[in-house]
Amino acid sequence: MKLSRDQIVGALIVILGVFVFVMISSFKVPFTLAYPGPKALPGLAAIGFIICGAGIFVEGMKKTEEEKVYMVKAGWIRLGINLLALMAYVLAMKFVGYFIATPIFLYGLCTWYANGYETKLWQRILFAAAVTAVIYLVYVMAFGYQLPAGELFG
């Protein structure tokens, strides 16, 4: 049996609701009608998750029409690569710092995103260098923030 999107999401939400209930049961301050305490807000969310999740799941079961495809297989692959690229960028900043990681990431992402469009190499290099420099100027020079220096460079 093929599960619909609503059924998958509904089930995930119910699981989340149960997880939240388990978590709040360990809170020391008790829930009473005279004073609901710290369990009230997450408890309300948990009840909402379970009721709504179950409702979404049931609605998903009732749906008869064909579901619109959320994303084709190639899209899922692109999505995965995007997320991996983001993680790699954060890790790269940790080790080699902002100034090395950012232009490389920008150039790579721009080149990949431009697939199918007409762009020139110098445009992408200029773009990567310019954005890196502008962010540095604005955040560090103008507003005094620190950007990652990279563990390899102290």
Binding site: R5, D6, L33, Y35, A46, G48, N82, F105, Q146
Partner: protein, 497 residues
């Protein structure tokens, strides 16, 4: 108000503020004009930049981004027939047909003038009304504040398109994220997993930019970018608007202005709704309703005047009660809290200068936007042609750097990627965004007022025995059950027919 004049003038004429005002308006307009981006996202992305600024320039910059975004929404609506932001949906109905008839210049000019009237007028009205609302607010207690927060969240659910259960789920996610960290009053650690980065709660930047910013951009690329829009620059010939046009539409303008101001004032609602209501009222009151949708300028006047009037309307409860009128004001409340400003009735006593600086900035932004738009009318098509492969990588990097500077830690960048995944799951499940934003930002206020109310009386019944609180609770509960009520009313109507 007059006693704050010197402070306001010194803040506005400060060179840094002037640069930020101009930059904010331009950036906001670009975000507002491009379909898929909007002023709220601009505020979200650039907010961390303001944390290191003084309060005055920070407010000027954030408000400029917001006003620029609201004002720029009509550009995409007129030239592409695609709304730049939800606040300009109704502008498409007649703005784009006008452009197709060769009256793009006139439609853009109407958009510019109507936006300016709506924003500046509502800011002035807001400045006068906010103090009165704040005075009334002194009489209300935690029960009423809880009720107001409850209404703000549930009203968004009631008007959110599609599935109510999904809207509620989104609000519950917001409440769950809001409860991470130490609880108010009892200081109970919740969902911290002994991680020091979670002790202080989830940062607004990390959560909101991750879920709505980074996730949207990554998803757009994964699904494949839409082709860049084709805009015929030959459509823009002259401004083609006279004073007599304003006078002919004066009733429509005033009516739409009041609709926008009123809807903006209601908690949880804003420009996204007011433009549609004003458009439909203008159509119903027009001598030629049959021409609506075919390029009737009255439709553009109504939509653009009302959506911008919602700005001042939304700022009244934001300043006087600390309750946001829409997602953008919710973000602003969060940003101002970081600057040490607790919005609410006391703000007029403690920081009245800041409140009036906000209203003045909005009025000035309206004029600056008007001038920028009048000068840059021929540049608009270029804004719509910025290639995605340059824009999105730059915005993704700015998002991650925003997370880093928020706490000087790459851990927050990792958290932003986690919330990006949450945003993708939400998009997969068709969960709306607005309920999460409002619930996440209002969650702490909602909870602390609820607990204070219980500490005072020790019973839930007080929420229903105090008249104002009872009204809010009834409205809130009615909003939650509005789909069931709507279906029941429709059934009764059908049976009668």
């Amino acid at each position: 108000m007059a006693q704050y004049a010197s402070y306001i003038i010194s803040q506005i004429t400060n060179p840094l503020s002037l640069i930020l005002l101009l930059a904010g308006n331009v950036i906001g307009m670009v975000f507002g004009a491009i379909p898929g981006l909007n002023g709220t996202m601009a505020v979200m992305l650039f907010m961390p930049l303001t944390f290191g600024m003084q309060t005055g320039p920070a407010i000027v910059f954030l408000l400029s981004l917001w006003i620029g975004g609201c004002s720029g929404g009509f550009i995409g609506s007129v030239l592409l027939g695609i709304p730049g932001s939800p606040s300009s949906v109704a502008t498409c109905f007649d703005g784009h047909p006008m452009a197709k008839k060769g009256m793009a210049g006139r439609a853009l000019a109407i958009g510019m003038v109507a936006s300016c009237i709506g924003t500046a007028g509502s800011a002035i009205a807001g400045a006068f009304l906010a103090q009165t609302v704040a005075d009334i607010a002194f009489a209300i207690g935690p029960w009423e504040y809880f009720g107001l927060c409850f209404v703000a969240i549930t009203m968004v659910l009631a008007i959110s398109k599609g599935n109510m259960l999904k809207g509620l789920t989104s609000a519950c996610i917001g409440l769950l994220f809001a409860s991470v960290g130490f609880s108010p009053i009892d200081a109970q650690a919740r969902f911290t997993f002994d991680n020091m980065y979670l002790m202080g709660g989830l940062g607004m930047t990390t959560v909101l930019i991750g879920i709505f910013g980074v996730a949207a951009m990554v998803e757009a690329h994964a699904k494949g970018f839409d082709p860049l829009p084709e805009v015929d620059t030959g459509m823009i010939k002259g401004i083609g608007i006279k004073m007599s046009d304003i006078m002919e539409n004066i009733v429509n303008i005033i009516r739409s202005f009041l609709i926008g101001l009123g809807i903006g004032f209601l908690p949880g609602m804003g420009a996204g709704l007011s433009n549609l209501v004003a458009y439909s009222v203008a159509k119903n009151n027009s001598k030629h309703p049959e021409t609506f949708g075919t390029g009737n300028p009255e439709g553009v006047w109504a939509s653009e005047c009302s959506n911008n009037a919602s700005i001042g309307g939304a700022m009244i409860p934001m300043a006087a009660l600390g309750i946001p009128g829409d997602s953008a004001t919710a973000l602003l409340i969060g940003a101002l809290t970081i600057h040490g400003l607790e919005m609410g009735p006391m703000v007029f006593r403690n920081s009245g200068d800041i409140v009036y600086l906000m209203f003045t900035t909005v009025a000035i932004c309206a004029l600056v936007c008007f001038v920028l738009q009048a000068l840059g009318m021929r540049v608009f098509p270029l804004i719509l042609k910025v290639p995605y492969h340059f824009m999105y990588p730059a915005l993704i990097v700015i998002s991650l750097i925003s997370a880093y500077v928020d706490s000087s830690s790459l851990y927050k960048c990792g958290m932003m990627i986690f919330f990006c995944i949450v945003g993708l799951i939400m998009s997969f499940g068709g969960l709306p965004q607005s309920p999460l934003i409002l619930a996440f930002i209002l969650g702490p206020t909602l909870e602390s007022n609820m607990l204070k109310a219980f500490q005072n009386t020790g019973t839930i019944s007080t929420f229903f025995t105090r008249p104002l609180s009872c009204i809010f609770m009834i409205i809130g509960i009615a909003c939650v059950f509005s789909p069931i009520l709507k279906a029941a009313f429709a059934k009764i109507k059908r049976n009668k027919a």
